[in-house]
């Protein structure tokens, strides 16, 4: 079985991470597994987790009152789940549910935050890896909002 | 080219008769509703003798001349394209029969036109439309048949109009090719005659039948040349065409487009008056029974909103983008498409713009550095 550290090292999100940072983040990590249909976090919950998806698929849902939940994004192999752990006030913005058997690495958000505060260059590294993902999510959201395939006549 | 000849006014009438005899329908300048237009004419009496046209941005007036010149004006509001590329024509008829239907193409007729008094810029305009309609991979059947037997008697402009800039576009004022016969009208104190040049075998054989034609004397040739030099010197407008394609392509976001859009009414006059604008649309019509359908082709303009409609909206929905399309097509992308400018410098779009937008002025403004892009230092 692969060591936790080598799994983290080989995940696209942490590709090329400096060894000393790798050691620091591994200290906050553990292996997790979610069954299909299992909730991972809920909107409004304290955001104390950050996940690297190894295999599987997670749906991010918003649930308007009196409506069926709407899936707005899915995240799968080689991608990440959750960035609210680094943005105050550290609350999740939507629901996350595994849609199939999903294996992931879970990081303790409080642990990561503490290490980032102690070592700002780790903090900077984390942010510069997270920001492109957040940026892409924003761009994707804009595209979804423009409803490009819709009937605009 | 043959040596030029001279003819007088009477010979000109004979020329009309000759053309009639050869089965041509004669179209030439004549006065209708306070304008000199191109229409069917039968003799030189129909020509606007002693009249001229005063043209300025958004301005056109007929004025009496002090002489009896037959061609002493510039260009008519409508160009000759109305005859070769009709403003409206039926393409085909479809008849329904149960669940089946049948399509019958409209029969084509050859009207055999002779254009009298066509100017050099207008001959260039026809050469440009030839590239669009009959020199590409597809043939426009009506244009082809109307064009096939066209006979042209060009007139070299004896004066430049207020909105003319053929010299800038290298399309005039003297007709150098594309005509069967060309005339330079010369008015001297006691003499009114025409220097005739031949541009084709057909032109030569028609000319040979005229009685009193004489070989031109050097003095007469020089008089004609002098007129051409004068006309060239007096162009009402100037357009700098150097690197114009690149200039326009590089300035698609110039603030001048916003500026002109505030003045432009999107009325489409410029495109209707332009001798090279070729856009058309099709309209499908049915009768009340629903069993009989027709398709009509009609002139269209890039200034209309529906021009760029695709499901969901219009691609060019602002006057800015429409004007930019028209000007960049005319002066830039036309060069990529057809290897020549789409503008012949006839000035019609300037004269007939109700608010007097002058494309030469717009290009000059776009050539200047964009105010919004100058830095503060």
């Amino acid at each position: 079985m692969k060591s936790l550290q080598s799994i983290i090292e080989n995940h696209p999100f942490f590709k090329g991470l400096e060894p000393r940072f790798l050691e620091l983040v591994t200290g906050c990590a553990s292996n997790v597994r979610f069954e299909a249909g299992q909730p991972i976090f809920r909107q409004g919950d304290e955001a104390n987790q950050f996940y690297l998806i190894r295999q599987g698929k997670v749906a991010l849902e918003v649930c308007p009152p009196n409506c069926e939940p709407i899936v707005v994004q899915t995240t799968s192999d080689g991608e990440i789940l959750g960035w609210a752990w680094i943005v105050p006030p550290y609350h999740y913005h939507c629901d996350a549910i595994a849609t199939e058997l999903t294996r992931a690495i879970q990081f303790d958000g409080q642990c990561l935050r503490k290490k980032c505060q102690e070592d700002h260059s780790l903090g900077y590294t984390m942010l510069s890896r997270l920001l492109p993902v957040i940026g892409q999510t924003m761009e994707a959201t804009q595209l979804q909002l423009t409803d490009v395939y819709g009937n605009r006549s | 080219m043959d040596k030029p000849s001279t003819i007088n006014k009477t010979n000109l009438n004979q020329l009309f008769a000759e053309l009639n005899q050869h089965g041509y329908q004669i179209i030439g300048p004549t006065i209708r509703g306070e304008a000199i237009v191109y229409d069917r004419i039968s003799s030189i009496d129909d020509l606007p003798e002693g009249w001229t046209d005063e043209q300025q941005p958004g301005h056109y007036r007929l004025k009496k001349r002090s002489d009896k010149a037959l061609f002493g004006f510039n260009v008519s509001p409508h160009s000759w394209k109305q005859f070769l590329h009709p403003p409206e024509r039926k393409l085909w008829t479809a008849e329904k029969n149960g669940s089946n239907f049948k399509i019958t193409p409209e029969k084509l007729e050859n009207p055999k036109f002779a254009f009298i008094g066509i100017r050099s810029c207008e001959l260039h305009a026809i050469a440009i439309q030839d590239k669009v309609f009959i020199q590409g991979p597809h043939i426009d059947s009506v244009y082809q048949i109307h064009r096939k037997d066209l006979f042209t008697v060009a007139v070299n402009c004896g004066q430049a109009g207020g909105t003319c800039f053929c010299v800038s576009m290298n399309t005039g004022p003297k007709a150098n090719s594309g005509f069967d016969l060309s005339l330079t009208e010369i008015l001297e104190e006691n003499r009114h005659y025409f220097l005739v040049e031949t541009g084709s075998g057909r032109g030569r054989s028609i000319l040979e039948n005229l009685n009193d034609k004489k070989p031109a004397e050097n003095k007469e040739i020089q008089s004609a040349e002098k007129i051409m030099t004068e006309t060239s010197k007096n162009m009402g407008r100037f357009l700098n065409t150097e690197g114009i394609k690149e200039t326009l392509y590089e300035n698609l976001e110039h603030t001048r487009w916003e500026d002109v859009a505030k003045r432009c009414l999107s009325c489409a006059n410029c495109t209707m008056a332009c001798p090279t604008c070729f856009c058309s649309t099709v309209e499908d019509v049915t009768d009340i029974t629903g069993d009989h359908a027709e398709r009509w082709q009609k002139w269209d303009s890039c200034f209309t909103m529906d021009f760029t409609y695709i499901h969901g909206g219009h691609v060019r929905h602002s006057t800015k983008s429409q004007y930019r399309q028209w000007l960049t097509h005319k002066l830039a992308s036309w060069i990529d498409q057809f290897d020549s400018s789409g503008c012949v410098g006839c000035g019609r779009c300037i004269t007939w713009c109700p608010v007097g937008i002058d494309l030469t002025e717009e290009v000059a403004a776009i050539r200047k550095p964009d105010k919004s892009k100058t830095d503060y230092n």
């Binding site: 994707a140 595209l143 409803d147 | 329904k96 976001e253 359908a293 499901h311 969901g312 498409q337």
Partner: protein, 279 residues
């Protein structure tokens, strides 16, 4: 013009031999020629002008060909008066057709290369003949990836064919939708998110994109981020078309007439105009 040359402005009569409902708002018509001159050869990506009697004409890409000579498939989204009239046609009904017109997908260029096809919504229809052409000579090409995005799972076209493409031909087919309910077990997110999820060698890949302009713009960006160069990216443009032969002027896009120079363009060739607003 000699009499045996068909005037490109005059439609020929075709019969609807089959009609398939593809999604809630799109359908396919299988057409067979009723006149002597039939369209036997067309390039993938080319389109026809389809005439609904008494209503009007619309440009529709060819979405496939039945093995039998002279049979064509068109997949149409019901969005306007003409497409709605076409939607009402049943087996045995007739329509008018002119074509084929325009440029084709660069299948020859794909040989010995990986191929990425990105489709959005109804955009899979014009790409399907390209996919068929690639599968017909599967061993000539490297990796083939089909990335398909739509608004909602109910908008997806040709889903029954995906398993065949995957299983029989080893094509990486990835599908995503903009929004879905819980029933949908696939991806949710815009089509560009699929680009990093498939394998191809960006230095030896030809990409073909068909969909709404904004979606194509973002797809080009994603492909460039993955390391592809612009000259290997091909897109299709949609513009108003009336004549389809370069006479009517409606479809002009800078120096190009979309009807005859397109609809398939190398991104490199139209980039400056593609990036100009309202052009």
């Amino acid at each position: 013009m000699s009499n045996n040359v068909h005037d490109p402005m005059v439609p020929q009569i075709y019969e609807v031999t089959k009609r398939i409902r593809e999604t809630h708002d799109s359908f396919s018509l299988y057409l067979e020629s009723k006149s002597n001159s039939v369209i036997s050869n067309f390039g993938p990506g080319q389109f026809n002008m389809i005439y609904a009697f008494g209503v009007g004409e619309v440009p529709i890409s060819i979405s496939g060909q039945v093995e039998k000579f002279g049979h064509l498939i068109h997949t149409i989204r019901n969005v306007g008066t003409v497409t709605s009239a076409l939607n009402a046609l049943k087996k045995g009904h007739k329509l008018g057709l002119r074509g084929p017109f325009g440029s084709s997908w660069p299948i020859e260029k794909c040989k010995k290369q990986d191929v990425v096809l990105i489709a959005g919504g109804i955009g899979l229809a014009p790409l399907r003949p390209a996919i068929y052409a690639l599968l017909k000579e599967r061993d000539q090409f490297g990796e083939i990836a089909v990335l398909y995005g739509a608004r909602h799972p109910t908008d997806l076209l040709f889903t029954k064919e995906f398993e065949n493409w995957r299983g029989k031909y080893g094509v990486q087919v990835k599908v995503t939708v903009d929004t879905a309910d819980r029933e949908w077990k696939g991806n949710v997110g815009v089509v560009t998110t699929l680009v990093p999820r498939v394998s191809f060698d960006p230095n030896n890949t030809i990409a073909m994109i068909c969909g709404p302009e904004i979606m194509m713009k973002f797809s080009v960006l994603s492909l460039k981020q993955s390391g592809m160069s612009e000259e290997n990216i091909f897109i299709t443009m949609e513009r108003n078309m009336k004549c389809a032969i370069g006479f009517c002027g409606h479809c002009q896009f800078g120096p190009a007439f979309v009807c005859k120079d397109g609809p398939v363009f190398s991104y490199n060739n139209i980039k400056p105009f593609f990036e100009t607003r309202d052009f």
